[in-house]
């Protein structure tokens, strides 16, 4: 599988990354060499093998749905780059 510079541009858009032409070119080469490396996995028969994500079997970890104290609006907004009227402020989204 070979990634084209156009696909790299598309992935950058999905990831909300703006790449310079130079970065785009470098990533195309580097990502391709890493993807080549993944080809090895195709040799392995994994039919019927379940995926793994935890060291010990655990499932459906739930807690009681009870209200509890949380951060105040002031604390939650303290790190915001921009804010107004107890909200995070962003550039206009709706015209």
């Amino acid at each position: 599988m070979r990634l084209t510079p156009e696909e790299v541009e598309h992935v950058a858009l999905l990831a909300r990354l703006r790449l310079t032409d130079e970065e785009s070119e470098r990533f195309t080469t580097q990502l391709n060499s890493i993807l080549d490396y993944f080809e090895e996995l195709k040799q392995i028969d994994t039919s019927g093998v379940p995926p793994m994500s935890h060291a010990v079997p655990m499932s459906n970890v739930l807690r009681a749905d009870e209200p509890a104290p949380s951060l105040s609006p002031e604390e939650a907004l303290r790190n915001a780059p921009d804010q107004a009227r107890d909200c995070f402020q962003v550039p206009r989204v709706i015209e």
Partner: protein, 508 residues
């Protein structure tokens, strides 16, 4: 104090004993560590932030409580270095990324709360690869850290600042995180002890996420006893992390007996050789000598091959970037951290410019890789396939534990490499984690302890791997080995001249 060494060179348990007996105050210990930092930090650069005001208040509080006759926890008053990946209430936390510069968390990570409750004193936040992505600490947005044993070399990564702080005696205890080897590989490169516990043994609540199915918190220390004492601080169930294991942890100091008679140790071929390439000769020799040492101590050592471990690196470089691309979507310039000053009044433009200006090259590379692997049509081919191969890797480990109590091998195929050596070749950098990554794939506990020095005077690490929740057995094997060697007593002194350049000198 003993007079044998400077105060800052003591282990945490030696210092704790002096504090408990009243021979040294917590303030004196803190002053000694800051004096040491003043001497060596310009050369080593372990820290990105020193929190002296906070530390002085914590130390004085311990001294006052002791003066009142209060019974204090075992490590009370001991200064600790925290990797800059833990949220610390009221203390800047950046993950060594420009995108989090200035972020002051409104709460503590679970492990930070536990450290506070144990009376530990916070020296500062240590340098790391940005978002823990790297094996050399060269990906930090805030400068490189140098290996205290040779200032031209990397300390390893991603917890390189924590490892260097311990090796240079700029801290008595330190904490790291390990997603693919980020505790064990720097511990190996810096000649100290590092433990990655079983996945789920230590809470990740408030630890900035990289790859959530792999990330684990653990201690970096001067010796095995300090490691066990830190595990007593860190381990335990936390309902705020849904992966946290409810089983109560044991007292990890209980197995610190120098006895491995009858212990069955498996030397894993894949920890010594990858796709036909052996680890470096001097690493090979040091591991072989360690095996002989274990045999002399009464352990039974035999070789084993776990073939599916050969797929660990490609599996890791699908799973970790995929999870990272999702975890790092939150850095968008809205709720915290950096926002571009020039957003053109458009929100997509604001997101993209913020992330372009805020993230470094390796982070972008992994976000790209992960986004691609998870994008439409590729999930089954990459992420699902990789997660299935993880099951096969774990099965190989499980079968080996029918024959062995502990697995053993090299921590890293090489000793510390030179600064800049691998920065232009991501794949060769990734391969420096070839021995540690399989352990994260299996969710197992893994540890690195010093097992020798190369002809150039660089430390070599021995990796020990245990069954799920087998930290106590690992600590016992590590302790028995350590007590029969003196590698853990050597200290790097990164301020003397050697060969006409500033470099480390091994002493005594």
């Amino acid at each position: 104090m003993s007079g044998r060494e400077s105060l800052y060179e003591l282990t945490a348990h030696e210092l704790a004993a002096l504090i408990a007996s009243g021979e040294v105050s917590a303030r004196e210990a803190l002053d000694a560590v800051y004096a040491r930092i003043a001497d060596v930090e310009n050369d080593v650069h372990s820290y990105v932030l020193l929190t002296r005001e906070v530390a002085e208040r914590q130390a004085s509080d311990i001294d006052e409580r002791r003066a009142r006759g209060e019974k204090l926890p075992p490590l009370a008053g001991v200064p600790i270095a925290l990797k800059d990946i833990y949220c610390t209430k009221g203390i800047e936390t950046t993950c060594c990324s420009r995108i989090l510069k200035g972020f002051v968390p409104p709460y503590d990570a679970d492990v930070v709360e536990r450290c506070r409750e144990s009376g530990l004193v916070f020296i500062g936040k240590t340098n790391m690869d940005e978002f823990a992505m790297g094996s050399s600490t060269e990906n930090s947005a805030f400068g490189v850290t140098r290996n205290p044993w040779d200032l031209d070399r990397v300390p390893g990564g991603s917890s390189g600042g924590s490892a260097a702080a311990i090796a240079a005696s700029e801290a008595f205890l330190a904490m790291g995180t390990d997603t693919g080897g980020s505790i064990r590989q720097p511990a190996s490169f810096c000649g100290i002890v590092g433990l990655k516990p079983t996945y789920g043994r230590v809470s990740r609540y408030g630890v900035i996420a990289f790859a959530s199915s792999l990330d684990q918190v653990g201690p970096i220390t001067k010796d095995v006893r300090d490691c066990a004492l830190m595990m007593n601080v860190l381990a335990g169930h936390d309902p705020r992390d849904t992966t946290s294991i409810p089983t109560p942890p044991p007292d990890y100091t209980a197995t610190l007996v120098p006895d491995v008679k009858g212990l069955r140790i498996g030397l894993v071929k894949e920890f010594m050789e990858y796709q036909g390439r052996r680890v470096d000769k001097e690493v090979d020799d040091a591991v072989t000598a360690s095996i002989e040492r274990f045999r002399e101590l009464g352990a039974e050592v035999d070789e084993i091959s776990l073939p599916s471990l050969n797929y660990s690196i490609p599996v890791y470089y699908i799973i970790a970037p995929a999870e990272a691309s999702s975890n790092l979507a939150r850095y968008d310039g809205v709720q915290y951290g950096y926002r571009t000053p020039d957003n053109g009044g458009d929100i997509i433009e604001m997101y993209s410019r913020t992330r372009d200006e805020g993230f470094g090259a390796e982070v972008k590379r992994r976000i790209m890789l992960g986004t691609y692997a998870l994008s439409a049509g590729y999930y089954d081919a990459y992420y699902l396939k990789a997660s299935q191969v993880r099951t096969l890797i774990r099965k190989d480990f499980d079968q080996s534990f029918e024959r062995f109590d502990v697995l053993i091998g090299a921590t890293s195929p090489t000793t510390a490499f030179t600064l800049g050596e691998k920065t232009d070749d991501p794949l060769s950098m990734y391969l420096s984690d070839v021995c540690t990554i399989p352990v994260n794939m299996g969710g197992l506990p893994g540890m690195s302890i010093p097992c020798g020095f190369s002809s150039e005077g660089l430390p070599i690490g021995l990796q020990l791997v245990g069954k799920p929740l087998g930290e106590d057995t690992l600590l016992q094997a590590a302790y028995a080995f350590e007590q029969s060697t003196d590698y853990h007593r050597r200290r790097a002194t990164p301020i003397e001249e050697r060969n006409g350049r500033r470099a480390a000198v091994v002493r005594p």
